[in-house]
Symmetry: D2
Subunit: 288 residues, 4 copies
């Protein structure tokens, strides 16, 4: 599956603003033949950073007052790992790579400590494995309404549970929180998502099972085959598509994704488990 | 200054428990001649992990039911960098290494987003620089009572502000939160602390100013010269001295620190700024 | 059914303390032949107050430093109104006495506004009537564990929902919150409860249906036939058995209830709906 | 001082809605020569209720789908009690009328229990009396910004303290919370307010000192001489100007107040303490 993706972001900058963007397609073994361009108007110098633990790609730019826009365009071929969900077990904590510890801990929006009693009560007796995480996703889908405007940038997973409503960000936070509360490492993933209507950046979560990160989307708004990953992190704060420091007003935003390999869009959604992240974070490099 | 430090931790394990410990002295350039031993009873295999971004040293052990204890002993010479506080400026966001971004973001217990209005109102007009962070520490010292038992492991910085009471963990979370809310990178630091009564693990925070991490202790319970660092992280969750997964009961705990270089303990506290962490996290490695 | 009830409360008063007690049996038409005594040691003057809206009976005493105890003993015959639950409908808001408005509003611990989405999602489609409130009680019983020490005096209904655990106070707050969120007036009721083990003050809630207040106990710890009511209010704060202002330490507490009419204790619990409060609060008096 | 006040409220009702309004001028001894009219379009039957404990005047109307409007107009002469603030002492709890207890307790938005440590730390050492409440108002004025849109209908006093911003409702909740936390009875008061720009319903709070309720306005947006009281209650929920049950959309709202006694508007604000409520709630009626 080959996709072209991209975005256009425009701002009116009132006072010098440092933008940190995380919107480029992740460089992964299973993201093949990635070609991409970033275009800034006005042309300003970029600083780049790749986070060691996650491989997240950050771009920073310092923008003087005035109009500013960023255009990103990329092509990439997805070659996801697939497996039969029935054969995917949970990894006992004692066998987890230690580098994965952060994804067992609560973070700002993934309040897994506050949700531990709820997770235990609802999912503690479910047989461990891929199917348990699927059950978590189904539970979220059945209990949380997808409602634009139901949350804001400070909404936590426990608040979403009470509000019974949220957007993709909130669904991903809640899914990750339930997993962490059960001892399953989980992280927040941002992506371009084929089929999402209206087009926008999307958020899903990954659970670490049997030595891999597997994708889960409790919103059911996009198919897992069509997720072109950007970043992965503890929660939304870490991989916001734009983190501005300064004074500015967003004036426009477009997000695009198109399948370009000529394969017919069947509209069917895979029933296989899908993984695009081979290993845990810094699993080799970090062991001493 | 040479110190011997150590701890003894004992547990009654009821069901197989995985412990992840973060209690060994950090390997830093300014921690010289570090010698150390870890002793487990019963003798069980250890797994080790050094986090890439922070250098935090984690040790994991899987313990069967029964009694279990860990003894750690180390000697280390501190060679901190000192500077005149008056000459230490804040680093504008545009000049920060991008790897430092996580320490500007809110985390589970460092709720800097919720505290942003409070921080702006109290400290927004203070002249930037080392003295502003000192002012934050003084404010915390004057407004928050040090009260054992005033908080628990889920207490966040905003709750501490309301409760007007906490322990070292809470003082450090609040200090870091105010800093992050003002655009000053800050992180939570665990340590052995000379002079702390009664002896215990201690928590302080570091602010990133002028290209270095500087130590701050809003509790004023120990002197900055006598802090032997263990770990640094977003908040307490990331560097708990023990993170157990299983069923166990703590049955004993001792924490020791003694100055051994024969220098007289003057009882005076330095007025210099103190730094033991040279650079930002993965500042070189991560730039692409 | 005739009951003798009583309590013994003892305190060590360190500095002059004003106690406001709400522990006397409510004076209700369906509480017949009430005889009671209050005994204070030392003998101190009492002030009494009966709240106009609720009939709650408050006793205040100002206690100098030293030992202090209160003994209360009462006998009362319960003559509850019973009805077939199937015939009890909800009262549309337009037909409610206006005096009942406070019991539709959120209060400190009955956070019905925060729980509105949850209540709508779980119970919004259930057919209105007594059975809907029974379903709320069953849901609470099935989802919340009765755990001593799981909560404290600041715990709110939404926190109980997240913690999945609480005591009678929390069960009653959550039941009342779900009701108010659905437009069913509900209030918190304190009582002596036959069959409660260990003996203690008990808390249940009442819902206003078809012109009466009906008792509900989501804990299932006592039978509705054996509830000797003390007070009713918005939530626990309003009818705490003791509200002290000063400095004191509780040193002893006993709560007693015994059935004395010679009728055999069958151990069976009624399946009828039970009401001891005839009308809404100040329903007549307040209409202008 | 004679005032004409009034309001116009318009709604588009989508499904039958019960409105409970609390917008009529309070009937108080110190509100003299009150003349008033209520006009509904369409003309629908009204139900009225006067709350026993507070004297609050509620009007209920059940409105079918379609347009609906209410017009209220009144004339009233204010004859406030005035006193020298210096002579107004706090009333010890032991001397308070028991009916006043609810105004010492936390309520949904007046989270005085959560704010107790903060209140004690800031105001616990201030000499008791009228001046202490004035100090609370000054503190709020200096620390909380008046910002429209900074809060919503679920905002509590502790949240306002963290956000450092709010509207009149939030200022009144916070003032009342600090008072209750210090053992000073306090309640929330809604009113028409001369001088408020733009004209709107206003909220202030009252503290009970020396046997009377005294008005305080931490916003300093209106003068105490020009407050024409509507209702008083535990917090905003109890005396919302409109509490609708149903489906409707507000389509218009105007609030008016004009001084009509020909006295020149001096623009000066009184420095006297102002009270319009003679006694505590049901102080006589409720004592038994």
């Amino acid at each position: 599956m080959r996709y072209t993706v991209g975005c256009h972001l425009a701002y009116e900058v009132e006072a010098e603003t440092v933008f940190i963007f995380n919107l480029e397609v992740a460089r992964l073994e299973r993201h093949r033949d990635l070609r991409e361009t970033v275009n800034l108007i006005p042309a300003l110098p970029l600083r780049r950073h790749v986070a060691l633990e996650t491989g997240n790609r950050y771009v920073a730019v310092t923008v003087p007052p005035g109009r500013f826009s960023l255009d990103y365009a990329a092509e990439v071929t997805l070659d996801p790992h697939r497996a039969d969900p029935a054969g995917i077990a949970e990894t006992p904590v004692k066998d987890l790579p230690l580098a994965i510890l952060p994804y067992l801990l609560p973070s700002r929006f993934v309040s897994s400590d506050r949700l531990a009693p709820f997770a235990q009560a609802e999912f503690g007796d479910t047989a461990p494995g891929f199917a348990r995480v699927t059950r978590i996703c189904n539970w979220i889908h059945d209990h949380i309404a997808y409602v634009r405007g139901a949350s804001d940038e400070e909404t936590t997973a426990d608040e979403t549970l009470l509000k019974r409503a949220g957007v993709c960000r909130d669904f991903a936070h809640l899914g990750a929180a339930f997993c962490r509360a059960l001892g399953i490492p989980a992280r927040f993933v941002s992506c371009y998502a084929d089929g999402l209507v209206p087009s926008d950046f999307h958020a899903v979560f990954e659970a670490y099972l049997d030595g891999r990160w597997w994708l889960f989307d409790a919103t059911r708004q996009a198919h897992l085959d069509g997720l072109v990953r950007i970043g992965a992190g503890r929660d939304a704060a870490e991989i916001a598509f734009a983190t501005p420091f300064g004074e500015m007003t967003p004036t426009g935003m477009e997000v695009r994704i198109t399948r370009t390999d000529g394969a017919p869009e069947t509209g069917e959604r895979t029933v296989a488990a899908i993984s695009t992240a081979e290993t845990g974070p810094d699993a080799e490099g970090g062991l001493a």
